[in-house]
């Protein structure tokens, strides 16, 4: 299989869309073959549902597995002895999804995240302000998605500052000091959308405090489902962040704990863009067939990162739409899309528990 560096330079070299498409197909085809060889459970699923994938020619014809499966069972494509980290992500349904990282996958997560960051945000290191509490020790072994993301973004930092305490209260005096020191320089803010909204922006608003980080960039992602329940749109969030922090840009990103590192940044036109390392397909609600451009459906995510577990192609529980394969008005080439929410919970008829499960 190709290394992340090889993928980057190859993908960079293509000028035609169909060249890139066939490159990506081969990439994910090989990755699928790899997991079929290495993970028996995955092999059984592929043989049950995607028998004909070996004669496929397009990326849309490659297998995918449902994201919920990582909550139901352990899937590994590396020997247990090679696993260095277990990444836990507690979904909204309460069950925890578990993905198993060996050294290669853990390193590739960082490499891919770094490359995407450098291509999208900046290629030089700058101070990073994490809108979260600091973990004195970044744990290995069992970690959750949140600390994995913080760990990832810390790579780009010349220095790291955490501005919330353990109770998630904003440390205003610390924030003021940062404003004095970095008000005029390039600086990066990072945090979870909901935490930024709830524990920073709302706090600044109710105390009527404004900062002016004129060269600042705020990156946020994850947990927008909570925000939705607060009826906060992306636009309200952006405006509020710009107003209160005085940052020059606010960028949302989209990604899954099951594909850590392989994230998608929002562009200046507020669309998410695919990367060299990942791909997005939208599938129709009622049969999982491929949706047309402009049609809403279920989001399938592909990522070159997962090699120690078969999470390189997953069907998520999110709703999205692809707006084009090229020609976004932001000027960036490639496929661009939008995430519209999550599939609503559905009732299940039948002899369900009236009392036991609540």
């Amino acid at each position: 299989m190709l290394s992340i560096e090889e993928i980057a330079s190859k993908a960079e070299s293509f000028t035609m869309l169909d060249e890139l498409e066939s490159f990506k197909y081969t990439l994910f085809r090989n990755l699928t073959d790899f997991h079929v060889q290495k993970c028996l459970g995955y092999k059984r699923i592929i043989e049950s549902f995607f028998k004909t994938y070996s004669s496929s020619t397009r990326i849309e014809e490659l297998p995918y597995i449902p994201i919920g499966l990582f909550k139901q069972m352990d899937l590994m494509s590396a020997p247990q002895s090679a696993i260095v980290t277990t990444l836990n992500s507690s979904g909204t349904s309460g069950n925890t999804s578990r993905v198993y990282l060996d050294k290669v996958t853990a390193i590739n997560q960082i490499k891919v995240l770094t490359n995407i960051f450098f291509e999208t945000i900046s290629n030089k290191k700058m101070p990073l302000v994490v809108i979260d509490f600091g973990n004195d020790v970044i744990p290995t072994g069992n970690i959750n998605a949140r600390s994995a993301a913080v760990k990832g973004f810390s790579i780009f930092a010349s220095e790291v500052h955490y501005v919330l305490n353990k109770n998630l209260d904003i440390q205003l005096d610390q924030f003021s000091k940062l404003a004095k020191k970095f008000g005029e320089s390039e600086i990066l803010f990072f945090g979870f959308t909901f935490v930024i909204w709830n524990n920073l922006l709302k706090e600044l608003e109710s105390n009527n405090i404004k900062f002016a980080f004129t060269k600042g960039t705020l990156i946020h992602g994850g947990g927008w489902k909570n925000l939705e329940s607060y009826k906060v749109s992306n636009e309200i969030f952006n405006n509020c962040a710009k107003d209160r922090l005085g940052v020059m840009r606010v960028l949302n990103y989209y990604g899954m704990a099951e594909q850590t590192g392989s994230i998608y940044f929002e562009c200046s036109a507020s669309f998410l863009h695919t990367t060299h390392y990942g791909h997005v397909i939208i599938r129709n609600y009622h049969d999982f067939s491929v949706a047309k451009i402009g049609e809403e459906g279920i989001v399938q995510l592909l990522s070159v990162v997962p090699t120690s577990y078969p999470g390189h192609s997953i069907l998520t529980e999110d709703i999205g739409v692809i707006l084009g394969d090229d020609g976004c008005k932001c000027g960036k080439s490639g496929r661009y899309f939008k995430i519209l929410g999550r599939l609503p919970e559905a009732e299940i008829r039948g002899c369900g528990d009236a009392y036991g499960n609540k």
Partner: protein, 404 residues
């Protein structure tokens, strides 16, 4: 006093809890109860609103006069039976009218009743409650009115405990986890228990009989099979999870394919599944195949109908039958007796086609297997009967007095 319940967040839909503390008012197969049910039935059947709800109509037909007369005659010879007293019913969450069947069974047995409705609001329940209220207003049914209290409350062990302290009998409709939860609540020693744990069901079809059907006959059979399986997302205890093809040793693959093909046409015109559930189906089936030691070909992951051809091994399979939303295991069966080692206590219903039910009954009884309480033709899988899960309900819900 039961009145103290009013300190708790209990929503009383019908009757009052106080009434239930009065003296018993109805007897075993009380003629007033029968008259009340007949009145309810015709009131439901004559209301156009009922027709919107297939389950309301099914209930109304179940208690219609002619049907009740047959029922009464079956129990006519019973002597010296009397209800236990106060019965607490915990109805299941996702079968809206199940509470009504539970209540009727217990009224016929001569009990006073507290019924806990599912917390989810169903239009059928609202409709039926409204009807009940009107009929229970009549002077002639005051004894019945004082034997029924229908309530709704969020899961709350304090309330349940309080209610149980007055109960002589509890009827707990499944899920296993509901049953263990209710069992963990301190209950008076004398309180009897009727429980309906998780069950699974299977179908047995004679391949040769399918072969003889015309396409339109096969289509009709498929409609019936659809009702049994898809009506409750294949998630009811009585919905078939496996189809066994009685083969007599012959190759059935052509017949099976034809059946599923015709069945798929029926499914496509009728079944609507929420995308979230289709995704759940894919997840659950993935789990099944990933942990199986057989190769289970399924086909497209987003299909409304999934058939998993497998080889039933010699282990009981009840616990593994978690397939739903239109997913069926299938296997050939040379003879009925081959089921012996496979069936355990989890299997509730065998629905059949082209097989003599007497043959199945003989097999069930003579092989002394632990499971199978119902043997019904395909299409009747969901029909409620006073004999359910091995209980003869009027008799199980009442006590027998011996006089020597």
């Amino acid at each position: 006093m039961l009145m103290e319940i009013s300190d708790f967040p209990v929503e009383v839909q019908i009757g009052t809890l106080q009434n239930l503390e009065e003296k018993p008012r109805i007897s075993y197969f009380d003629p007033t109860v029968v008259r009340f049910l007949v009145t309810l039935s015709s009131s439901l059947i004559n209301d156009v609103e009922s027709r919107k709800h297939a389950d309301v109509m099914a209930f109304a037909f179940w208690i219609r006069k002619s049907n009740l007369e047959i029922t009464v005659s079956k129990y006519q010879a019973d002597r010296n039976r009397v209800g236990y007293g106060m019965c607490l019913h915990i109805a299941p969450a996702n079968v809206p009218l199940n509470f009504a069947y539970s209540l009727v069974s217990s009224l016929l047995a001569g009990n006073r009743n507290i019924v806990r409705l599912p917390t989810k609001i169903y239009p059928q329940i609202i409709f039926l409650i409204e009807k009940l209220r009107k009929i229970l207003d009549a002077d002639e049914f005051q004894d019945i009115a004082r034997s029924i209290c229908i309530i709704r409350y969020e899961q709350n062990d304090d309330i349940t405990k309080k209610l149980l302290s007055y109960a002589n009998l509890k009827v707990v409709w499944g899920g296993d986890s509901t049953i263990s939860k209710i069992r963990s609540i301190n209950t008076p020693a004398h309180c009897k228990e009727i429980i309906f744990p998780d069950r699974k069901s299977i179908s047995v079809i004679n391949a040769e009989s399918i072969h003889k059907l015309s396409i339109s006959e096969l289509s009709k059979l498929c409609e019936k099979f659809y009702t049994d399986s898809y009506l409750f997302d294949q998630n009811a205890c009585s919905s078939p999870k496996i189809v066994f093809w009685l083969s007599g040793g012959k190759d059935t693959s052509g017949i099976r394919d034809k059946f599923w093909q015709v069945f798929f046409e029926v499914v496509k015109t009728k079944y609507v599944i929420e995308p979230r559930n289709l995704l759940l189906k894919f997840t659950e089936l993935s789990h099944i195949v990933a942990t199986s030691n057989q190769n289970l070909a399924i086909g497209a992951p987003g299909s409304l109908l999934s058939v998993l051809t497998f080889e039933a091994d010699t282990e009981p399979f009840g616990a593994r039958l978690v397939n739903r939303f239109g997913a069926f295991f299938q296997d050939d069966l040379e003879r009925l007796e081959d089921l012996t080692s496979l069936i355990d206590y989890r299997i509730q219903t065998i629905s059949y086609f082209g097989v003599n039910p007497k043959r199945i009954a003989d097999f069930v009884i003579n092989s002394r297997i632990n499971g199978v309480d119902r043997i019904v033709p395909i299409g009747k899988g969901l029909d409620f009967d006073l004999i359910w899960d091995g209980y003869d309900l009027p008799r199980s819900l009442s006590r027998a007095v011996i006089i020597n």
